[in-house]
C-alpha cells in the first residue's frame, strides 16, 4: 500500500501542475482586482499539490501503519471485473448501432455466463424478462425513449 499511496501523491501533484498549465491563458484578476476565470482552478491546483505532498509525507511518517495493507488490483476476480467493463463499453457501442433490445438480449446472458450461470432456461428467461421490464418501464410508462438501431433513426 505504501508504494501505491506514494503514486497517488505523485499523481495529485502532477494533476495540480497540469491544471496550472492548462489554465495558463485564463485571467487571474481583472483591473478592479476581482477574481477571474483562473482564480478558482488555480486555487484547486495548489490544493492538489498540497494534498499530494501531504500524501507522500504521510507514507513516510506512517510507514509501519500501511505496510500490512494490500490492494487488490490484479487478482483473477478483479481482472474479470475489468473484462466486464470492457464488455459494457462494447454494449454501449452496440446500443448506438443495434439499439437497446438486441444488444441487451446479447449482453445479459454473457454477463450471467461470466458469473457462472449455466442453466439455459434461466439465462433465456432472465434476459427476456429484464429487457421486457426495462423497455416497458422506460419507453412506455416513463415515456423516455431507449436507443434504437442507428439505421432506423
Amino acid at each position: 500500500m505504501n508504494k501505491i499511496n506514494t503514486i497517488i501523491g505523485v499523481i495529485s501533484i502532477v494533476f495540480g501542475l497540469l491544471i496550472i498549465y492548462l489554465s495558463r491563458n485564463m485571467g487571474m484578476f481583472d483591473e478592479y482586482g476581482v477574481p477571474g476565470e483562473r482564480f478558482w482552478p488555480f486555487g484547486l491546483a495548489l490544493l492538489f499539490i498540497f494534498l499530494g505532498v501531504m500524501q507522500c509525507l504521510s507514507v513516510v511518517i506512517d510507514k509501519a501503519k500501511h505496510i500490512t495493507q494490500t490492494v487488490d488490483l490484479s487478482s483473477t476476480a478483479v481482472t474479470r471485473a475489468y473484462l466486464l467493463s470492457g464488455l459494457i463499453i462494447l454494449y454501449s457501442t452496440a446500443l448506438y448501432y443495434i439499439g437497446f433490445i438486441v444488444s441487451s438480449l446479447i449482453v445479459i446472458p454473457i454477463i450471467m455466463w461470466m458469473m457462472n450461470e449455466r442453466k439455459v432456461k434461466r439465462l433465456a428467461l432472465a434476459s427476456v424478462g429484464i429487457v421486457a421490464v426495462v423497455y416497458v418501464s422506460f419507453d412506455i410508462i416513463f415515456n423516455s425513449p431507449l436507443p434504437i438501431p442507428a439505421f432506423l433513426d
Binding site: V34, P35, L44, Q55
Partner: protein, 502 residues
C-alpha cells in the same frame, strides 16, 4: 393555501404512486446485501428527468427512506447488514431470529423505522422554517462560507484517509470547473469540445460513481463467493410481524430516545445513519433495565438502532433544505434531483417555493407511513428478495446504469462518461477512496466559486469581507475546525493521555 396546494401535488395519483413505488424499490435495494442506499438513489436519479415538478424528488425520498429500513431485513435474517446503518441491528436482531423470533424482530424494526422516520419528519417541519428565517438575510459572502462549511464535511464522509477524502473533494471541485465560467461565461477546460461546453453531465457521473462501480464490486464478490458456502439464512417461519401491545409498551421509550438521537445527529452534516444507530444502541443499553440481554436478542437492541438510523432521514433534510448543505452522500445525490428541477436549495427555497417545501414535508411523511404499511404487509416478499442470485442482479444494475445515463439527454456520450466514471470509481474504492466527497465537491463547487467571486466583486477585491462579517467568519471557522480536527484531534488526545500518565 400553500399547504393545500402541496396536498394536491402529493396526493395526485402519479406522485403518490411514485412515492409508494420508491419506498418499495428502496426496501428491495436495502434488503439486497451489497446494494447501497446511494446506489439505489443514483440508479433512479435519471428517472427524475421524466417527471414534472416534485414527483421525481419525492420518488427519491421514498427510495431513501425505504433503503435505510430495508437493510434491517438481511441484518436480522442472515446477519448481514444490507446497509451500513443496519450494522447495529445485527447485534440483537440475528440472535432473536436464531431464537425463533424472526417475525418479532422484523416487526420491531419495521415499527421502529416508521416511528423514527415520522418523528424526524415532524422535527423537520418544526425546525426547518425557523432555521430558514434566520438564513434569509445571507449575502454572497455567507453563501460562500456555507459552501465551504458543506465541503468541510468531506472529512467525516471519507472512508479511512482524510487526505484521500480531501483529494476526492478537490476532484469533484475540479470536475465542476469544466464548462462555461459561471461569471464571465468564458470557456474552461473544454478542449474545443461541444459536449464539454455545458460542463460534464452531472447525473452520468453520479450513476457511474455509485451504481456502476457497485455493479462491478458485486460481480467481483460473486466471483469470489463461487466456491464458498451459502450464508447462514434463517429459514424459520415468520409468523406474527405486528408487534404485540406489551412489546410496543416496552420499546416505546427506546423509540422516542433513539428517534431524538437520530434526528439530532442527522442535522449535523456528514455524520450519518451508521453512527446514529450505534449511538442509539449504546444509549438503549445504558438506559435499559436489562442490559445483560443486549447482544443475546434484546427487543430494545433491535428497536434502538432502527429508530436511530431512520430518524436520520428527516434530520439530514434540515441542513439540505435550509442551508443547501447535504447531510450525507444520499442527500448529496438527492440535491442533484433538486438541481434538475431548477430548485435552489437554501433559505430562499422557503420564500420562493413554499408549495414545494410543503410537498417535501408531506411527501416525506407519506413515505414513512408507506414504509410501515409495506413492511408489515409485504415482509414475506421482501424476505424472498434475498434469494435473488447475483448473476441476475448484476446484469440488471449494469443495464439500468447504461439506460439511465442515456435517458438523461438521449445522448450515447453520457453512457461512455458513466462507464468511465464507474471504472475510475471502482479503482478508487479499491485504493481506499470514498465517493461521497467527489459528489459533494461537484455540487458545492459552483456555489462556493460563484459566491466567492460575487463577494469579492462586492468588496472590490477586499478579502476582509470573509472575516469581518460574523456569520461568514463563524461558518469559516467551523469549517476550518472540521477540516483540522481529524488531523489535530488524535495528536492532542495522545498528548493529554501522555500527560495524564506522567
Amino acid at each position: 393555501m400553500e399547504v393545500l396546494d402541496a396536498f394536491l401535488i402529493v396526493f395526485s395519483p402519479e406522485t403518490i404512486t411514485m412515492i409508494l413505488l420508491g419506498v418499495f424499490g428502496g426496501i428491495v435495494i436495502g434488503a439486497l446485501p451489497g446494494l447501497t442506499v446511494n446506489m439505489g438513489i443514483a440508479l433512479l436519479l435519471p428517472l427524475t428527468y421524466t417527471f414534472q415538478g416534485m414527483t421525481g424528488i419525492l420518488l427519491l425520498l421514498g427510495v431513501y427512506c425505504g433503503a435505510v429500513y430495508g437493510g434491517s431485513i438481511t441484518a436480522i435474517l442472515i446477519s448481514t447488514p444490507g446497509t451500513p446503518a443496519s450494522a447495529a441491528t445485527v447485534l440483537d436482531g440475528y440472535p432473536m431470529a436464531r431464537k425463533g423470533q424472526a417475525g418479532r424482530a422484523l416487526g420491531l424494526s419495521t415499527l421502529g423505522s416508521m416511528f423514527g422516520g415520522i418523528f424526524s419528519t415532524i422535527a423537520l417541519i418544526l425546525i426547518a422554517p425557523q432555521l430558514a428565517k434566520v438564513a434569509t438575510g445571507f449575502s454572497a459572502a455567507e453563501y460562500f462560507a456555507l459552501a465551504v462549511f458543506g465541503i468541510s464535511i468531506i472529512t467525516s464522509v471519507s472512508s479511512h484517509s482524510i487526505i484521500k477524502g480531501l483529494m476526492g473533494g478537490a476532484l469533484g471541485l475540479a470536475i465542476a470547473t469544466i464548462g462555461l465560467d459561471p461569471m464571465t461565461s468564458g470557456m474552461r477546460f473544454t478542449f474545443d469540445s461541444v459536449y464539454l461546453m455545458g460542463g460534464i453531465s452531472f447525473i452520468p457521473i453520479l450513476v457511474g460513481l455509485f451504481a456502476f462501480s457497485q455493479g462491478l464490486i458485486s460481480f467481483e464478490e460473486g466471483y469470489r463467493e463461487r466456491n464458498q458456502t451459502t450464508l447462514n439464512a434463517i429459514k424459520a417461519k415468520i409468523d406474527r410481524i405486528l408487534p404485540t401491545k406489551a412489546d410496543f409498551k416496552r420499546v416505546l421509550p427506546t423509540y422516542l430516545r433513539s428517534s431524538a438521537i437520530g434526528t439530532g445527529i442527522g442535522t449535523i452534516p456528514g455524520v450519518g445513519g451508521d453512527i446514529s444507530s450505534f449511538i442509539a444502541y449504546n444509549e438503549a443499553k445504558r438506559w435499559s433495565k436489562h442490559p445483560e440481554e443486549f447482544g443475546k436478542g434484546s427487543p430494545e437492541g433491535v428497536a434502538a438502532p432502527e429508530a436511530g438510523a431512520n430518524s436520520v432521514t428527516g434530520g439530514c433534510m434540515v441542513p439540505l433544505m435550509t442551508l443547501g448543505i447535504p447531510g450525507d452522500g444520499a442527500t448529496a445525490i438527492i440535491m442533484g434531483a433538486f438541481m434538475v428541477q431548477g430548485l435552489a436549495l437554501g433559505p430562499q427555497l422557503f420564500t420562493d417555493n413554499p408549495v414545494e417545501v410543503n410537498s417535501i414535508f408531506i411527501g416525506l411523511m407519506m413515505a414513512n407511513i408507506f414504509l410501515g404499511i409495506l413492511g408489515f404487509l409485504c415482509m414475506r416478499m421482501f424476505v424472498k428478495v434475498m434469494d435473488v442470485p447475483r448473476s441476475i442482479l448484476v446484469p440488471i444494475i449494469l443495464v439500468l446504469c447504461c439506460v439511465g445515463s442515456y435517458s438523461v439527454n438521449h445522448n450515447i456520450t453520457d453512457v461512455f462518461v458513466m462507464i468511465g466514471a464507474g471504472i475510475f470509481a471502482y479503482v478508487l474504492i479499491k485504493l481506499d477512496f470514498s465517493m461521497s466527497p467527489i459528489v459533494i465537491g461537484m455540487i458545492l463547487g459552483p456555489m462556493a466559486e460563484s459566491n466567492l467571486r460575487r463577494a469579492l466583486t462586492m468588496s472590490q477585491g477586499d478579502l476582509s469581507i470573509l472575516y469581518t462579517r460574523p456569520v461568514t467568519a463563524t461558518f469559516l471557522a467551523i469549517a476550518l475546525l472540521t477540516l483540522l480536527l481529524p488531523v489535530i484531534g488524535p495528536t492532542v488526545k495522545a498528548y493529554w493521555k501522555k500527560r495524564k500518565n506522567k
